[in-house]
């Protein structure tokens, strides 16, 4: 369906329970404002080519809206890349929208940095990872702290391909992400790590769907959030294992660290399993900073604030520990360190 034909989704759907569509829409839900283009640039020899906007009917209101809003649309083809590819997405204007499609044959490491100060940014990333190809993808959200941000991602993984996906969400004041991966080929796998550092009155809603359509597929999701101030973090996950997708292995872990009395966190890790010979597990935990850990660090000379900062940093770094690609791991940790140091100086 096209955007104007779609009803506003009910809050009984987990996807829209805590950030209903009217709260993330740039203005009124029955309007589609004229969007400026998110400008994509690349630091290497690879080429970004302009791509006509897809006219395919969308099954989801956020994607249909981004399609209707237009904005920029680019495609990048990645073969065996020797060096990491850095794509910068610069958003400007009042409402800014960009569409990017990645096609991977071989192995590649890609970082996408989004920055800018528009009032509203929408980004739709799609990716196809061809058979026996491997992508390590890092997403760094460094948008202005007054920006509303809607991000949709759709990844399709073919036979024996793999995706390592890391997100660092520290920008924007109201963010809604809907990240979906389809394991379409036998032997495909995804490792996904999401780190959220929320403070002030930041609202960050991360929805992750991983669909095991075939057997012998693997997924591993870790989502860590540290919430301070009066921030609100929402982590929802939907893990499905289709009928006949035997020998699949899936796990998801959500951890929330609550740092202030007014911070809030929600965790909804859902499982739908239609195959019997599988291993699927999820866990969620929410807790304050452990007093024993604080005491330990303070007994070694740190003041309470420093001690808490060390614990929070360690907790956020830990979300990336399931990544196996060293380049991805190091870059994401570096970015996180820079962010935390800047925050400490503020």
């Amino acid at each position: 369906m096209m955007y104007h034909q779609m009803p506003i989704p009910s809050r009984s759907e987990h996807l829209w329970r805590y950030t209903p569509w009217p709260r993330i829409h740039p203005s009124k839900p029955d309007t589609v404002p004229k969007a400026d283009e998110v400008i994509f640039s690349i630091n290497g020899p690879q080429e970004l080519t302009a791509e006509p906007h897809s006219q395919k009917p969308q099954g989801d209101i956020a994607r249909a809206f981004l399609q209707a809003a237009g904005g920029s649309s680019s495609r990048i083809r990645l073969n065996d890349e020797m060096e990491a590819v850095h794509i910068n997405a610069r958003a400007s204007g009042h409402v800014s929208v960009g569409h990017l499609h990645l096609e991977v044959k071989g192995s590649a490491v890609v970082f996408l940095h989004i920055s800018g100060e528009p009032e509203w940014v929408g980004l739709h990333i799609t990716g196809t990872i061809h058979p026996n190809s491997h992508l390590a993808f890092g997403f760094i959200n460094e948008l202005d702290s007054n920006t509303k941000f809607l991000r949709c991602e759709d990844w399709g993984l073919e036979r024996d391909s793999s995706l390592e996906h890391a997100s660092l969400s520290v920008g924007g004041f109201r963010c809604k992400s809907d990240l979906r991966t389809s394991l379409n080929g036998t032997g495909s796998s995804i490792r996904q790590s999401i780190t959220v550092n929320a403070d002030g009155s930041r609202h960050d809603d991360e929805h992750v769907e991983i669909h095991h359509h075939h057997g012998h597929t693997q997924s591993d999701l870790v989502m860590n959030s540290a919430c301070g101030g009066s921030s609100h973090f929402i982590g929802t996950g939907l893990l499905t294992i289709a009928e006949g997708a035997n020998k699949s292995n899936a796990s998801q872990v959500f951890r929330n660290l609550l740092l202030s009395p007014n911070a809030r966190a929600e965790a909804i890790p859902e499982l739908e399993v239609l195959a019997d010979d599988v291993s699927a597990a999820h866990g969620a935990a929410s807790a304050p900073v452990d007093n024993n850990q604080l005491h330990y660090l303070m007994s070694r000379g740190l003041d309470p604030q420093e001690a808490e900062s060390v614990i929070v940093n360690g907790f956020l770094y830990d979300a990336f520990s399931n990544l196996t690609n060293k380049e991805l791991l190091e870059e994401m940790r570096t970015r996180l360190t820079v962010h935390l140091e800047c925050e400490l100086k503020r």
Binding site: L258, I268, A280, S286
Partner: protein, 468 residues
């Protein structure tokens, strides 16, 4: 039993039924007049009639839930349900006075034997009203009130009026509105301050008529410092047309009180079991739901606890077995509304033969509730490739001092475990049966003995033919 029904259910051990011998039966369908007639027939006070009518109007206006198994829910034809049926003209006090055919049914459920042994009291719901009620004299002497809900309303209207609908208002959901409009029977239990009821208090519920809705209403109040264990079981004969069971159960545990509510439901696989169960736990009170779901076509049941007073504790242990054509949509909800409240939820489910089991839970900590702790564990076994298991947990944490954990796993029976048992001489089927019984053991050990025995037998029956 009609020939067609007999043909469908065969010799299903727990699927017997007695010829209907009802003395009052309303026409099918629901209207405001039916609601008023039920109230008039029961000679209820005006305030109850008003609540019923208000609830009926809300039921009509309220849309069906847009979540869960909507395709099955939307198949319910509310106009094809009988909303009131009275089997016996009076509520019996002595077992000898109960009509033979009704007594025969209860005999087969084992109630008299259980009562003779050590049960505190019996009130058995047969279709819409209780036909038998007894209570040990020593409990009566302590001031314990254990009546069917209709008698409770007649004899203690002031208590019923004070608490009725306070935990689950009629506007809570569509089915609580339906129940409030047409409720009939159920239990009314009041435990005075400081009284500890040592023996479990028991009630059985049955549906015996085709397209008969059963809408019992249970209200349990444990006054300060008291304790009680209430046991409710449901078994139903199998029929070829659908039945609707929509109960409302309200528990109120005052300061320092403890209520344990155990239930095993084994409705036949054509029954919609859409139940709202909720408890309020005041300061230092404990509420425990021990909940087993074996039967029904669709069960939607999420026992809840509102931890309203500081130091209150909730415990929910539930198991679900989803066989062919069944969807067990069960779970638990705990709302931590006060500081230093704690809760534990353990949920186990088995799906087999194309059945679907879903865990749907909510754990909420409000901003003022400091120092709360909770742990949720969900384990699911899938026994064949046609079956399905879902987990939909929700954690809403509004306080930074809360310490909450949730873990869930879905798997099949481990080959190592099967191999181990078979290497010790068990057949594959026996080994599977042992593993399944062991899987449910945390639940069965919390049940009174005869319930645990019945549950194990039911599981054995369900597991027959699961290998090969």
């Amino acid at each position: 039993m009609s020939d067609d029904a007999q043909e469908i259910i065969g010799d299903y051990k727990y699927g017997f039924h007695d010829p209907e011998n009802s003395t009052i039966r309303f026409d099918k369908g629901l209207s405001e007049q039916v609601v008023r007639d039920i109230s008039e027939l029961k000679n209820e006070p005006q305030w109850m009639t008003d609540i019923r009518v208000k609830a009926y109007r809300h039921f009509v206006e309220r849309v069906m839930p847009e979540w869960g198994n909507c395709s099955l829910l939307n198949m319910i034809d509310f106009e094809n349900v009988t909303y009131f049926l009275r089997s016996s003209n009076k509520t019996e006090k002595s077992w000898d006075d109960v009509p033979d055919d009704i007594k025969n049914t209860f005999d087969r459920l084992g109630i008299p034997e259980a009562e003779q042994k050590w049960l505190g009291g019996v009130t058995a719901q047969y279709e819409s009203e209780a036909v038998y009620h007894s209570i040990r004299e020593d409990l009566e002497e302590q001031g314990v009130i254990f009546l069917d809900m209709d008698s409770g309303l007649k004899q203690y209207p002031e208590i019923v009026k004070k608490y009725f609908g306070t935990v689950i208002p009629h506007s809570d959901n569509k089915f609580s509105a339906l129940n409030t409009a047409v409720w009939s029977g159920g239990s009314f239990l009041y435990i005075p301050k400081g009284v500890h009821v040592e023996m479990p208090v028991q009630a059985y519920f049955r549906i015996n008529a085709k397209n008969m809705g059963q809408f019992e209403r249970t209200l349990i109040i444990a006054d300060e410092g008291s304790s009680v264990h209430y046991v409710e079981g449901c078994t139903a004969p199998s029929y070829s047309t659908d039945s609707l069971h929509s109960a409302v159960v309200e528990l109120i545990a005052m300061d320092g009180a403890k209520i344990r509510y155990s239930t095993v439901q084994n409705w036949s696989s054509n029954v919609y079991n859409l139940v709202t169960k909720r408890a309020v736990a005041h300061r230092n009170a404990t509420v425990e739901w021990v909940d087993g779901n074996i039967g029904s076509k669709l069960t939607m049941k999420y026992p809840s606890v509102l931890l309203k007073g500081e130091g209150a504790h909730a415990e929910v242990i539930s198991v679900a077995y989803a066989g062919k054509g069944q969807h067990q949509d069960t779970g638990a909800k705990v709302h931590h509304l006060a500081p230093n409240t704690t809760s534990n939820i353990l949920s186990k489910s088995i799906s087999k033969g194309g059945g679907r089991s879903s865990y749907r839970g909510l754990l909420q900590v409000t901003p003022k509730s400091t120092g709360c702790r909770s742990k949720v564990v969900c384990d699911a076994l899938i026994l064949d490739e046609d079956s399905r298991s879902d987990t939909y947990p929700t954690m809403e944490i509004g306080n930074s001092t809360a310490d909450l954990e949730h873990e869930a796993s879905v798997s099949k029976v481990s080959n190592d475990q099967l191999f181990y048992l078979m290497s010790r001489g068990f057949s594959e089927e026996e080994a599977m049966g042992l593993i399944v019984n062991g899987f449910f053991e945390p639940f069965t050990r919390e049940l009174p003995m005869e319930y645990a025995v019945e549950l194990n037998k039911l599981l054995e029956l369900e597991m027959e033919g699961s290998i090969g």
